[in-house]
C-alpha cells in the first residue's frame, strides 16, 4: 500500500528554477507517467522522489510516511535507470539479487525471488552471464527484474525504454505494462514518448517548464487538453488551431464559418484534432499543400488563412496539392483556448 504525495515541491539550481511548486498525489497501485519534453523537470521530480536529489522546498510522502529527509534505501522504492545501470562485475543472478543480499535475506529466499523475477522477465536462461555479454534489451530486462525482486512499494522508471530500438520498445512496452499490473506496486514512469505515455499510463502528468500542466487519464489528456501546450504536445500530428472572433451569443467566426462556442467576448482560439475532420459540403475551406498517403489513412497538410491545418482523411479520397477542400469539424470535438492564458476556455 503506497500512496505518493508530493506537496509544494520546488527545485532550484542556482538562478535556474527546475521545478515550481509541484503538487501531485499518486494513488496506490496507480501507473503514473510523467510526460514532457527534455528539460521540463520530469527527471528531476523523479529523482527527488527517489532521494537522489533533494528538493529545495516541499515534502514527499510515500505510504503515509514523510520521506524527503530519508536516504534512497529507506524509502521503499526501486528504480530503473535509463542506461540500465546493470553492475558489470556481477552476474545477472547477483545483479537481480543485489538488493536482497543487502537486506541479508537467506540464500534460498534470494534464489527463489531471483528465479521468480527472472522468469517473469524471461531472462532465466541468462542468470550466469555478465552484463558485457548481454544485448541492450536483455540488460533492460535485468534492470527491471532487479527492481521487481525488491518487491518495492513504489517502482520508479526513468525513460527505461528510450535506448531500445523501435520494435523492441513496442514489445517491452506491452510486457512491462503487464508485469507491473501484476506486481501491485505504485509506478512512476518518466518518458518523453507520448505513445508510451498513452499506452501504459493510468494517468499522465504532462509537464512543461517545471510545472504540471495537466494530470489526467490518457483519454482525458487527449480529448480535453487543459492547455494549448498539451493540445500541441500530445497527438501526432498535433491539434489544429485557428483564431476565432466572437459574434455574440456564443457564436464564433472561424475562417468565415460560424461555430457554437463559449459565451464570452474576448477572442479565443478554435481547436480541432486532424482526425475529427470530414470532407463535407459545408465547413472550413482549406487549400491542400502536401498529401502524405500513410496506408491506413491520408494525412493532408493544408492552409487556412495562412495557418497550417492538418486533416486525417480516408485513404480512398483523391486530393492533389492545390485542391480546395471543405472540411467539417465534428461539433462535439471542437475545443476552445484562451490566447491570453493559453488555458482551455471551457
Amino acid at each position: 500500500m503506497a500512496v505518493i504525495e508530493i506537496k509544494n515541491v520546488a527545485k532550484t539550481f542556482g538562478a535556474y528554477t527546475a521545478l515550481h511548486d509541484i503538487n501531485l498525489t499518486i494513488a496506490d497501485q496507480e501507473f503514473m507517467v510523467l510526460l514532457g519534453a527534455s528539460g521540463c523537470g520530469k527527471t528531476t521530480l523523479l529523482r527527488i522522489i527517489a532521494g537522489l536529489e533533494t528538493a529545495s522546498t516541499g515534502e514527499v510522502w510515500i505510504g503515509g510516511r514523510r520521506v524527503d529527509h530519508l536516504a534512497p534505501k529507506d524509502r521503499g522504492i526501486a528504480m530503473v535507470f535509463q542506461n540500465y545501470a546493470v553492475f558489470p562485475h556481477l552476474t545477472v543472478f547477483e545483479n537481480i539479487g543485489f538488493g536482497l543480499r543487502m537486506q541479508k535475506l537467506p540464500n534460498d529466499e534470494v534464489r527463489r525471488r531471483v528465479e521468480r523475477t527472472a522468469g517473469l522477465m524471461q531472462i532465466d536462461q541468462l542468470l550466469k552471464r555478465y552484463s558485457g555479454e548481454l544485448s541492450g534489451g536483455q540488460r533492460q530486462r535485468v534492470a527491471v527484474a532487479r527492481a521487481l525482486a525488491m518487491e518495492p512499494d513504489v517502482i520508479l522508471m526513468d525513460e527505461p525504454l528510450s535506448n531500445l530500438d523501435a520494435l523492441l520498445r513496442m514489445e517491452m512496452r506491452a510486457e512491462l505494462k503487464g508485469v507491473l499490473a501484476e506486481s501491485n506496486t505504485t509506478a512512476i514512469y518518466v518518458t518523453h514518448d507520448q505513445v508510451e505515455a498513452m499506452s501504459m499510463a493510468d494517468r499522465i502528468s504532462v509537464m512543461h517548464k517545471g510545472e504540471i500542466v495537466q494530470a489526467a487519464t490518457p483519454l482525458e489528456v487527449y480529448r480535453n487538453p487543459a492547455a494549448e501546450f498539451v493540445a500541441g504536445f500530445i497527438g501526432n500530428p498535433p491539434m489544429n488551431f485557428l483564431p476565432a472572433t466572437s459574434q455574440g451569443g456564443g457564436k464564433w467566426a472561424v475562417a468565415g464559418e460560424l461555430f457554437d462556442g463559449p459565451d464570452r467576448s474576448a477572442p479565443l482560439k478554435f481547436a480541432i484534432r486532424p482526425e475529427d475532420l470530414r470532407p463535407a459540403e459545408q465547413g472550413l475551406t482549406a487549400t491542400a499543400k502536401v498529401i502524405e498517403p500513410l496506408g491506413a489513412h491520408l494525412l493532408v497538410t493544408c492552409e487556412i488563412d495562412g495557418e497550417i491545418f492538418r486533416a486525417i482523411l480516408d485513404s480512398d479520397m483523391t486530393v492533389r496539392p492545390g485542391d480546395r477542400i471543405t472540411l467539417a469539424p465534428q461539433p462535439d470535438r471542437i475545443r476552445w483556448f484562451d490566447p491570453e492564458t493559453t488555458l482551455s476556455a471551457v
Binding site: A50, G51, L52, A71, P72, K73, I77, A78, M79, F81, Q82, N83, A85, F87, P88, H89, F98, G99, M102, Q103, Y130, S131, G132, E133, R146, M150, L156
Partner: protein, 279 residues
C-alpha cells in the same frame, strides 16, 4: 609508399599489410624478449661461458654467479630495502593518489584544471636538481638513510601517475551505478565498497604496480639519500662498477626478475575487461 589505385591490387595490399603487421609484432616482441633472454642465459652460465664467443643459446644452468651474488655481503639487505621502499611507495601513492583521482572525477571545484596541471608539473623538475636540497632537508629532519624517507621521494615521483590513472578509472564508472546501489539498499560507503571498488580494482592494481616499478627502478634518489640502507639499484650501482661481467649480468637479472614476476602475477588485472577476458 606505393600507390594503390585499382581494386585488383587490394588483395596484394592486404597481404602486404598483414606481413607488415606480423613483422612489427615479431620485431616488438624481439625488442623486449631478446635482451631478457641474453640476460637469462648469461646469468645462468659459468663466468668462462659469459666471456666466450660465440655464445651458446641454451643456458648451462650454472648457478655459480647467482650463488656468489646471493652470498655477497649486504646484497640480501639491499634486496629487502628495495622491497620495503617499493611497497611503501605503492601504498602511499594509492592512499594519496586515489582520493585525489576520485575528487577530480566526481566533483567540480575552483582551480581543478590548474590542479591537474600542477600534478604533472611535479615531474618537470629533474631529480638531480632537487637531490641536494632534499638531502639537506632529510638530514635535518632525520629522514636521511631511512626507507620511509626514500619512499616519500618515490611516492612524489609516482603520484602524478596514480592520480591521473585513478582519475580516468573513476570517470569511467557511471554515477548511475552508484545511484542504483543506493536505491537497492546501499549507503554511500557500501555502494563504494560493493560496486565502485570491485570495478576499479584492476586499475588500482595496475596503478599500484606502476608505483612499485617506479620505486624499484629508481636509482638516483636512492643513491643520494641512503648510505647504510641502500636499495638494490643503488647497491648494485655502487658495488658492480668494477665487478666482472658475469656478476653484472647476475645483478641485472636480480633487478629485472622481481618486477617481471610481479607484473606476471597480476597480468589478469592489467588486461581484464569485465565480462570479456575473465579467464
Amino acid at each position: 609508399m606505393t600507390d594503390v589505385t585499382a581494386d585488383a591490387v587490394a588483395p596484394d595490399a592486404r597481404r602486404a599489410g598483414r606481413i607488415v603487421y606480423g613483422a612489427t609484432v615479431v620485431f616488438l616482441c624481439a625488442w623486449v624478449l631478446v635482451p631478457l633472454y641474453f640476460l637469462l642465459i648469461n646469468t645462468l652460465s659459468s663466468p668462462q661461458a659469459v666471456n666466450a664467443f660465440p655464445k651458446s643459446f641454451i643456458p648451462a644452468f650454472d648457478l655459480g654467479s647467482l650463488t656468489f651474488f646471493a652470498n655477497f655481503s649486504g646484497m640480501l639487505n639491499a634486496l629487502k630495502n628495495s622491497v620495503i621502499v617499493a611497497a611503501m611507495t605503492m601504498v602511499m601513492s594509492i592512499v594519496i593518489g586515489a582520493p585525489a583521482g576520485y575528487a577530480l572525477s566526481r566533483f567540480d571545484f575552483r582551480g581543478k584544471e590548474l590542479f591537474r596541471l600542477l600534478i604533472l608539473l611535479t615531474r618537470a623538475f629533474p631529480l638531480p636538481l632537487l637531490a641536494l636540497p632534499l638531502a639537506v632537508l632529510f638530514i635535518r629532519t632525520g629522514l636521511d638513510d631511512t626507507a620511509f624517507g626514500l619512499a616519500l621521494v618515490h611516492t612524489t615521483l609516482a603520484i602524478p601517475f596514480a592520480v591521473l590513472i585513478t582519475y580516468s578509472l573513476f570517470s569511467g564508472i557511471p554515477i548511475e551505478l552508484e545511484e542504483a546501489a543506493w536505491t537497492l539498499g546501499c549507503t554511500r560507503l557500501t555502494a563504494f565498497t560493493k560496486v565502485v571498488l570491485p570495478l576499479i580494482l584492476p586499475g588500482i592494481t595496475a596503478s599500484a604496480i606502476f608505483a612499485f616499478v617506479i620505486s624499484w627502478n629508481e636509482v638516483f634518489a636512492a643513491a643520494v639519500l641512503t648510505i647504510e640502507n641502500r636499495t638494490l639499484t643503488a647497491f648494485l650501482l655502487q658495488t658492480l662498477g668494477e665487478a666482472p661481467l658475469h656478476l653484472k649480468f647476475a645483478g641485472g637479472f636480480i633487478l629485472v626478475v622481481p618486477a617481471l614476476i610481479f607484473i606476471f602475477a597480476v597480468r589478469k588485472y592489467l588486461f581484464a575487461m569485465w565480462g570479456i577476458a575473465n579467464r
